[in-house]
């Protein structure tokens, strides 16, 4: 089983968080899996980690539709943060709005981080794929 240090899940839906965690449990060995109910909590945590030079997540599962700060607003801030290593960001959304696909394309071009786009429900093999490279 692959070993990953730190995975973040940003989603306001507890069922989804449960599901991703459950699937991760059977595909990778991960020391830390943290979840945040919206983009704001997640980005603040990452900012604090950078300041305190703590470990940053290697993989982020990111929902789009969330209260307070949605997935796109999170990305907007995230790509400006001084993070030299490539972080794998997996957008996991139930949205099939073409606008969201365009947003994904535009953010992919703007950053050195790897951004993928998956529709809910996310499948076990997709989780495997996501965690493979890292």
């Amino acid at each position: 089983m692959r070993k990953i240090n730190f995975i973040s899940i940003v989603d306001d839906d507890p069922i989804m968080v449960f599901g991703i965690k459950k699937m991760l449990h059977t595909t990778v060995e991960c020391e830390i899996v943290e979840s945040y109910k919206n983009g704001k909590l997640a980005i603040e945590n990452i900012k604090t980690s950078i300041k305190e030079q703590r470990t940053l997540p290697e993989i982020i599962f990111l929902d789009i539709n969330m209260p307070i700060m949605d997935g796109w607003q999170f990305l907007e801030e995230f790509i400006t943060l001084p993070i030299p290593q490539k972080v794998k960001i997996n957008i996991v959304t139930s949205s099939i709005d073409p606008y969201d696909l365009k947003q994904w394309e535009s953010y992919s071009k703007k950053t050195h981080h790897v951004i993928t786009f998956n529709n809910k429900p996310i499948k076990r093999h997709e989780i495997e794929e996501i965690t493979k490279v890292a």
């Binding site: 839906d13 069922i15 989804m16 209260p67 139930s94 529709n119 996310i122």
Partner: protein
């Protein structure tokens, strides 16, 4: 004396003849010439005796030689008139006569020629001819005939033109009765009879425009004038003129008809038409313009400028346009403008101003044509509103479709994921947990469907019955029904709505709107202070505005403004946030043709303005 006669030589007798006379022999050589003849012509012709006639007078037409030859045969005939230039260069005309010259034995030995100076006669003839021709031409051109009525002899004379106008032959002999009978029966005949009577009886001249019926049955307009002629204080004759003015009268009538037609047309055009002079004074206004300016008689407007009619601002704009059109000679065409009258009435016009040019090509004024497009503009506004509403509805519909799809998809995704887990799960405890989650997901789905149903009902039920409700009372009622919530949160509600304010509203919507704002006031209260919710109203145009102000958390409108009223958008980490309250409120308000505005400062509070129609 008789004896003496014989002693006087013939040549001497001839010499003394008082008429210019020549005697020529058979070869046309001059034998004798009278002194008179010699005096008429130049001196160099003195020694003409013995010379040929045609050598002395080279001007003579050679055909006259033939005439003279006949004369020598005893058949004398006049030679005719011959012109000569005299010593001063003036053309003189002479009439030549000739007779055969017999000797005592009755033998023709030559011809006797007499020459008469007829220059003056010829000149006066020419002058008379000229005068006659002129008179005739004048008469023909002006179609003015002359007539005369000799009262004493009771005769009437018509000149050829007068006859021509009556269409009678030139040998027609009129009398006073027939003259009058040519006038059209009725007014015309009566008028001329009276005029002739007045003239013969009282010496009053006349000049009348009347109709005649000619001999050929044609109706003509004529100008008949008559003037009595007095002799020793007595009226003896009436002389007058007779002029065919049919063309003038017909064209006058035609012009009047055209004018009338044009006036009728201009008056009944559904356009305001006016003509202004150089100083922008109205010199013509049509009925529409009169109606628009509230006058019954066009004379009330004629001579007035816009400054006399409109408020200064409107008049100034109009005068500036007038000057621009008249100075540049470029018309203003179909320009939209708003005209404001003294009573404040605004009318939208589509107006054109076209310069009127004088013979020098300068503007002497202008023609104005305005179409009242107030109604069209109103319709246009309504249409635009309708389009706005429709496109808004359309946007809402798309938004709604996304919401539905997104929400249902997220639930179904959860179901399929959880069911997948359940199928593969061995651990009973874990299975139980998954089933619990499935129940939760199912509840969530139900709630979502309920929310969506609420929205659909709202969107399809825009025609719900409105009622006049007292706002102050209504707030109090809702406040009472939420007593528990309000008291436990120490929410202070300040109802500053004036007691007499009533609004037209769907009752259920008002309940929902007020409840939503009160619960929001509780939900989003600031942790450091007790919540206060202030209600008051004011009028703004057609709207009654309900102002709801809280001292809660506030919201960053720059970040969230566009999403504030969106469905399932929440901006606070609050467990009660459903993200549906404001979405529904906004839809309810809009379905009643109202609107919502918001002002907010993070940490200070939020102010919602709800506009009710």
């Amino acid at each position: 004396m008789l004896k003496d006669n014989k002693t006087i030589p013939t040549s001497f007798l001839i010499k003394q003849l008082p008429i210019a006379t020549l005697f020529v022999d058979k070869k046309f050589k001059v034998v004798y010439a009278s002194d008179k003849l010699l005096s008429l012509f130049c001196d160099d012709r003195i020694n003409m005796v013995g010379e040929s006639l045609f050598t002395i007078f080279p001007e003579l037409d050679l055909k006259w030689k033939e005439v003279l030859k006949e004369c020598l045969n005893g058949k004398a005939s006049p030679m005719g008139v011959q012109g000569f230039l005299d010593t001063s260069g003036r053309e003189k005309f002479y009439e030549w006569f000739n007779a055969s010259w017999y000797d005592s034995d009755e033998n023709i030995i030559g011809a006797i020629i007499q020459i008469n100076d007829i220059s003056s006669a010829i000149e006066s003839d020419a002058a008379l001819d000229k005068a006659n021709i002129l008179l005739k031409q004048q008469s023909e051109l002006s179609k003015i005939g002359i007539w005369e009525y000799d009262i004493q002899r009771n005769t009437v004379d018509w000149c050829p033109m007068t006859k021509n106008i009556h269409e009678v032959p030139l040998d027609y002999k009129p009398n006073i009765e027939t003259t009058i009978e040519y006038y059209k029966e009725g007014h015309c005949r009566n008028a001329i009879s009276m005029a002739v009577f007045e003239a013969t009886d009282k010496g009053i001249p006349w000049s009348l425009k009347l109709q005649i019926v000619t001999a050929k049955g044609n109706e003509k307009w004529i100008l008949a004038a008559g003037k009595p002629i007095f002799e020793k204080g007595k009226i003896v004759r009436i002389m007058g003129t007779f002029q065919d003015v049919t063309n003038q009268v017909v064209s006058e009538i035609k012009t009047k008809e055209n004018e009338k037609l044009l006036k009728t047309l201009v008056d009944h055009l559904p356009l305001n038409v006016f003509i202004k002079d150089r100083d922008s004074r109205k010199i013509l206004v049509n009925k529409s313009e009169c109606d628009y300016l509230g006058v019954t008689d066009a004379n009330e407007l004629l001579g007035k400028t816009d400054f006399d009619i409109y408020p200064f601002e409107t008049a100034k704009i109009s005068r500036d346009e007038d000057l621009r059109v008249m100075d540049s000679l470029k018309p203003i065409l179909s320009q939209e403008s708003i005209s404001i009258k003294h009573d404040g009435t605004e009318t939208a016009f589509l107006s054109s101003k076209i310069p009127l040019l004088d013979e020098n090509g300068m503007a002497s004024g202008l023609v104005g044509i305005s179409l009242d497009i107030t109604n069209i503009k109103q319709k246009e506004r309504e249409l635009r509103n309708l389009i706005n509403v429709t496109s808004l509805q359309n946007k809402k519909l798309i938004n709604f479709a996304h919401i539905v799809s997104h929400n249902l998809r997220s639930h179904s995704a959860n179901f399929s994921m959880l069911l997948d887990f359940l199928g593969n799960e061995k651990d009973e405890q874990e299975k139980e947990k998954i089933v619990g989650m499935l129940t939760e997901a199912s509840d969530n789905l139900l709630e979502t469907l309920e929310n969506l149903n609420e929205v659909v009902t709202l969107s399809t039920n825009t025609e719900s019955e409105k009622e006049k409700l007292n706002l102050h009372k209504k707030i109090t009622t809702i406040q009472q029904s939420l007593t528990g919530l309000i008291e436990s949160n120490k929410l202070k509600i300040v109802n500053n709505v004036e007691k007499e304010v009533n609004i037209n509203i769907v009752p259920a919507y008002l309940d929902s709107i007020l409840m939503n704002f009160i619960t929001n006031g509780v939900k989003y209260q600031h942790p450091d202070r007790e919540p206060v919710l202030n209600f008051n109203t004011y009028k703004q145009g057609d709207y009654t505005v309900l102002n709801i102000e809280d001292n809660g958390l506030g919201i960053d409108l720059k970040k969230y403004g566009s999403k504030l009223f969106g469905m399932y958008k929440t901006f606070h980490t609050n467990k009660d946030s459903r993200g549906i309250g404001l979405y529904i409120t906004k839809n309810q308000v809009e379905s009643m043709h109202g609107k919502i505005e918001v002002e907010s400062k993070v940490g200070e509070g939020t102010k919602f303005k709800i506009f009710f129609k």
